[in-house]
Symmetry: D2
Subunit: 252 residues, 4 copies
């Protein structure tokens, strides 16, 4: 039987600033990527977010990012692989402490924003991140852009992986995301988006922006919980998948 | 046989800023309190510091502090007990990840600066810190000011404790430290300082500033590694203790 | 003729985190206290907020706070008067640069949150803040809690002042705010709140929580723009004042 | 007569962390680039540093950097030109407040580290920085890498410029610095370094790493004050210049 994970970035509030419809989106996703205080999130938010995830039975993962609160971790930062490895270790550890207190196991680690994007293309960064994860707990799953250097680095050292795809993005023939600045980069038709992902899950293929069918693994789909419309889409994709014979479940 | 732990706060560099003679003082102390990135320290520094501590065979502890890099965690901050509990959990977790990667076990947790001082007097803060430690690992030792609320809070929930004393400070009759602003607060005579601590270790007593002998437990002595003179004093106190029949060893 | 200033704290977004209905509340207030990046706000937010304030013709003031983004500047921090003076100087300067670029003059400075509250009671802190303002520009107005040490410190060195009152708070006989934890601390009846402030403006008096009438100057009223209800109240207080012969205008 | 400015980055301490031999190097340089709290420095440090600069009669400039305390502003950060413009405005303003309190005029602005290097090559960043400076005070001098985009952007909008050279670095034929990773990138022979700079000042030329003589303007030489050897070199370069008919003086 086919199966896929739906995951969202949550726990992105910071102190007095609230962000995201965490409780709502947790009703539909199977995994949650929880910010660890560097690009978003803070200890109190982490603690509360893990409690909610536990109550909703959602699997949890650490979502480490660059030390760039002002830029929400979305800006490329030229930190060395050694620095990035230490940053990831630090954030996984902090996350672990809250997961432990909540009685939860960490399922996966997914780098955030610019760290995710840079490591998808840079094998040295990708290897640094994979090593940090493996040294902490070799049973953790590294979630990264499908077919990217992150997946490659994880496989190389024997870490389990989750190939992640984006329902709302077009792909180049080489499996990389079409740059947002390019026409056709975003898939705005919800039906089409869901159909494309279903195809990836069942056949491991998707139509590239050029029209050519390419291979693309899909273990997990990234969804959003920023606004009511996004949350409604998550419900829709989950319902459609189930009706279509695709089991929606966490990675483990 | 009598025994005591000598410990120093280390790992207090931050990014490009270096601080402390960590490698030197680690030759003489038996335990190290390592900053966790909130008042001092950073992931790369934590990783390096743990490696040095391991090489020197020194027991390690997390040294969590307030989120006040600018004030080095030395300024009272009116964070709630729930916030402080989360802050301590976060920092212990981050520290744990580096200790694990280095193949070291955490021996103890000692709050830093203003958090240490505030919790020494405030049972709600003290209990919050003790709970954070216990929920993470109930075998950890809480190191706090001898006879203070920190020790009381830890004992109440069954945590092991280390009563810490300061060789260079005078004590009031109630066992609290004489305020630095008061005359006679600092014990500047090294011989006297060592003699006083030896008395605490052997008899569990010390002469208060009033002249009265008071009870004061001493499991650990706080020493410093900021400068060559401080490091020389650490060596001297260790040598004197050993010559005096006091074993200098880590808490565990 | 009677007159009073209505002011709100705005510009409290930070990076990706949005906060407050700034554009809406600026339709009704006469002065805006704009965060300077330490407890809230950031350079891009400051720039945008000043542009909006200019378009709406609202007078602007710097709203410096403690270096506590995580606590939104609301937690007491034991910084020395010399440190606080430097912090205020820094933030006023940063604010000045954006005001200058926008072609606006700074009208006033109002400390934020814990800095406001601590300085209201501590003459050393209050004097430090007043000195920072005076050294930067002796024509600036210091806005502080009516009758507090902030006002006293400003008057002592010849700074202009704005005595600020809170429409939704009860007062003790000595003119200090009734602690929020005490019953009756909040004035929840909007009509009553407005009536009380009108009395302060016209007669310089208000009924303390004990029932006794006390003297209380009112140059400015602190209002909020966090939510639609708060904004509606600001409109209501402005309309009622105008109908009641009280001119609502900026301090200058 | 020939003349040149010698300048050093100072005021780089942060809170409890001390850095640099500021007082010593200020005896020999003619201009000081003072950190503004984002990559280094803090309000108290800025205030103290400006006081020392004033006592020594050294001209002062703002030294704004990226919001990367952990990386000392040395890591490329993909902030947008609009963000960088706001960041520079903020830091110049903060610096201005302390200069004003000290009774000093700002002479120049020199971006720090990664911001300096990125803007040297990126005209959009360079223009953003030049605009921020001009909008604050059009009489300020922008100091940047000799012949770089920073100089070009400043000239384009009519800002005064200071072409800066590095005594200890080799140059490519196009006037850019030879990458540190390349052999021969560093000029380690002090006599040669001084002779090269004297040539730039007198003839506006220098020998590129290829052996070819190239044009290179030199209004200012960047020197360092990190350690006793560096400070001794500053004295030596100043003495040699003076003996060689080159006046060492501030830009204004």
């Amino acid at each position: 039987m086919f199966k896929v994970d739906l995951n969202a970035d949550i726990g992105e509030s910071f102190g007095a600033w609230k962000k995201g419809m965490d409780a709502e989106v947790l009703d539909f996703v199977t995994s949650a990527n929880i910010a660890c205080g560097w690009h978003a999130g803070d200890p109190v938010t982490m603690e509360n977010t893990l409690r909610i995830a536990k109550n909703k039975g959602v699997a949890v993962g650490a979502h480490p990012g660059y030390p760039d609160l002002l830029g929400f971790g979305r800006r490329n930062l030229n930190a060395s692989p050694a620095e990035v490895k230490s940053y990831v270790t630090y954030q996984i550890g902090a996350f672990y402490a809250f997961a432990k207190a909540a009685g939860l196991e960490i399922q996966h680690v997914k780098p955030h924003g610019a760290m995710y994007n840079m490591a998808a293309k840079d094998i040295r960064l990708a290897s640094a991140i994979a090593s940090a994860i493996k040294e902490f707990d070799s049973s953790l799953i590294l979630m990264g852009l499908s077919g990217s250097r992150l997946i490659e680095a994880a496989e190389e050292i024997g870490l389990k992986t989750a190939n992640e795809v984006f329902a709302d993005r077009a792909y180049e023939e080489d499996g990389t995301l079409v740059a947002r600045t390019k026409e056709g980069a975003m898939i705005t038709d919800e039906e089409l988006a869901i159909k494309r992902v279903a195809g990836m899950v069942k056949n491991g293929t998707v139509e590239a922006i050029t029209g050519k069918m390419i291979a693309l693994k899909c273990d997990a789909v990234c969804v959003h919980g920023d606004n009511p419309k996004a949350v409604a889409f998550v419900k829709k994709i989950a319902d459609t998948f189930r009706a279509d014979g695709i089991e929606v479940k966490a990675l483990r």
